[in-house]
């Protein structure tokens, strides 16, 4: 394909082209390094990064014993102003389908499921994770604004995926139903 027109100036042009390319490449690599640095720094400073916690569990037996039996689901207040929310995602509902969490508190969500892959997010917050059968998903976040939020499943889990919406209420401490060990708002 290369034709053979040579010229005295083609060598100089070649050198010029290579020079320009090298300059551009270095600049672009620099941009890449800068972007990487920025991403790394913000992840570190704001303690904001994707989930990093591998825990295995038997999906067939989560309802029999252990952390995710029905009686143990809901919000548990912990020491030092923290809370743990345990929930199960299954075809096609979340259990509890209505969660309550205290405002301004570090909340750790622990979720798993007995059947297929689900996803879960709370729009306008940074709560977003996948729930993969065989694994426990753990995400920690804090809600700074009280209110009622919606919590959809965002991964295709079957023909009823579009019906899989739950609710989460962020309440002030004065509105907290303190008398229960596991708090949820989907039962009478």
């Amino acid at each position: 394909m290369a034709s053979t027109t040579g010229g005295a100036s083609s060598g100089a042009m070649d050198a010029k082209i290579i020079r320009e390319e090298r300059r551009w490449t270095l600049v672009m690599v620099g941009v890449g390094i800068a972007m990487t640095f920025f991403i790394a720094a913000t992840s570190l400073i704001f303690m904001s990064h994707p989930p990093s916690n591998v825990e295995r569990i038997d999906p067939d037996r989560i309802h029999v014993s252990g952390e995710f039996i029905e009686a143990n689901l809901g919000t548990e207040l912990g020491a030092g102003g923290t809370a743990v929310v345990r929930a199960v995602s299954r075809i096609f509902n979340f259990d509890p389908s209505c969660l309550i969490v205290p405002v301004g508190t570090l909340v750790t969500f622990r979720m798993t499921g007995p059947d297929v892959i689900h996803g879960v997010m709370i729009p306008t917050t940074n709560f977003n994770t996948m729930i993969v059968p065989g694994y426990v998903s753990k995400v920690t976040t804090r809600f700074d604004r009280p209110g009622v939020y919606r919590m959809p499943c965002h991964e295709y889990c079957g023909l009823g995926h579009h019906g899989m919406w739950a609710e989460i209420r962020v309440v002030e401490p004065k509105d907290w139903p303190f008398d229960k060990a596991r708090v949820r708002c989907d039962r009478g």
């Binding site: 394909m1 290369a2 034709s3 027109t5 083609s10 042009m13 070649d14 082209i17 290579i18 320009e20 390319e21 551009w24 490449t25 672009m28 941009v31 890449g32 972007m35 990487t36 991403i39 913000t42 992840s43 990064h49 994707p50 989930p51 990093s52 591998v54 295995r56 569990i57 999906p59 067939d60 059947d115 297929v116 892959i117 996803g119 997010m121 729009p123 306008t124 940074n126 709560f127 977003n128 996948m130 993969v132 059968p133 065989g134 694994y135 753990k138 009622v148 939020y149 919606r150 959809p152 499943c153 965002h154 991964e155 295709y156 889990c157 079957g158 023909l159 995926h161 579009h162 919406w165």
Partner: protein
Amino acid sequence: MTAADKRLVLAHWWLSFALFVCALFLGFWQFWFRSPIPPGFGTPTQYYISVTAHGTIIAFAFTTLFAMGFGYAVTALTTGAALRWRTGAWQAFALACIGLALLLVAIVSGRATVLYTFYPPLVASFAFYLGLTLLVVGSWFWVAHTIASFYAWKGAHRGQTTPLGLFMVTATAMLWLWASIGAALELLFQLIPLSLGWTDRIDVGLARTLFSWTLHAIVYFWLLPAYIALYLIVPEEAGGRLYSDPMGRLAFVLFLVFGVPVGLHHLFMDPEHGTAFKFVQGVFTVFVSLPTLLTVFSICASLEIAGRLRGGRGSLGWVTTLPWGRPAMLATGLAAIMLGLGGLGGLINMSYALNSAVHNTAWITAHFHLIFAGTVVILYFAIAYHLWPTLTGRSLHSVRSVRVQLVTWCVGMLLLTLPWHVTGIMGQPRRMAFFDYTDAVLAPTAWLTTLSLLGGTLVLISGLHFLWNLSLARSSEMQQVDVRFARPAVSNAHVPSALNGFALWNWLTAAAMVAVYGWPIAQFFIYPSFGAAGISVGGPP
């Protein structure tokens, strides 16, 4: 190109475009169904069947067949010889067709509603997986054919620089081979045994990890044919020269090294991996922007040469002198707009800490429709228009009609995807058949979704217009001339041997893959999970 080769290319392309238009209808109906003004026919189950069909056709059939056809054409044109092993190529095409038929029948029968990402433990019928396997195996023939053609040329022309087009198309083929391995392993060792009942459980984490290997690399397989057009067709169409041959080669091999070991960024939110490998692959993802940035430089420089040759003056005056009326030029300009916007979205997607804001929202779907259906597909159109006279011996009936089609595609795409991005940020989740827009979190997305639907209507019309333009091409008296690819500005510039072959790049890719995917895959064997039981969609198999 010989007549027989042209027939081979056209067979792949006609099938590809026919499937494409079917997928457009499906996509349009899907968007309509989930808008605030639904059509009043269809059910959610049919929606999910449609999503599966649309995704499978676009992701695996339309793109692969187009790349194969284009690949055969470029190989023939750059080697200047008839394609070898043509019988095998036709057999591979037939195999791919059989696979497609199996696939589509399975989907339409409702026994394969698992979407094109087929996330287990959802299980489709065996026919679905078999169909997909046959389609991929058929494409692997093209991969072997292209690689063999490359090395045959090298063997026959010892010490010479390989033609740029041949090098690029071989890089594309190798990328597809690398990309397809992940899903192939998942299909062969996990999904097919599950669908046949040979196993009853599947390790979902392993399946997702293997699929993620394919899921990102495949988009660069879709991208590279468009980039071949940018390097080989556009500078020629503009009336200039390609700024640099080696830079183009470098961009393509960088897609191997940085485009394959990045799949884990699709699993940022997953519980089966930790931050170490998620971050490593995130950093590689940052650098996969490098070959695109190099391409932008090369193509802009090439266009500058063309602009100045046409009398452009000043630092930017050359832009206006370019022949924007020519289809390939116009498509490039429109693609640049969509690449800029889609690329910005891509920067957000790769940002490690921001992923929680966008993961599995409509933002993701909007992004890949803009960057692929927008930027890449408009260049596919340009390729088709450009090669059509050579392949069919007919000239396009009206360049004005072609221009209108390209512009409506771009406008439609922008109108479709830009509001769609916003609905994603507002929290609209992905893959839902329909929404109740009285719900507080969804109410603000209603008017945006309607805007997108308008865009989708334009897109559907434009897609049909594309087919119409091709069909109306009429025979002309003009002599049969093969299309000519761009020549570099410096004709016999030195191309280093590293860029005249693939050894270094494949070794680097292999090393990177072992480093970044080795443990993430091995962990499922060293720390096996309990697995999950398969669940058939659409009833017991």
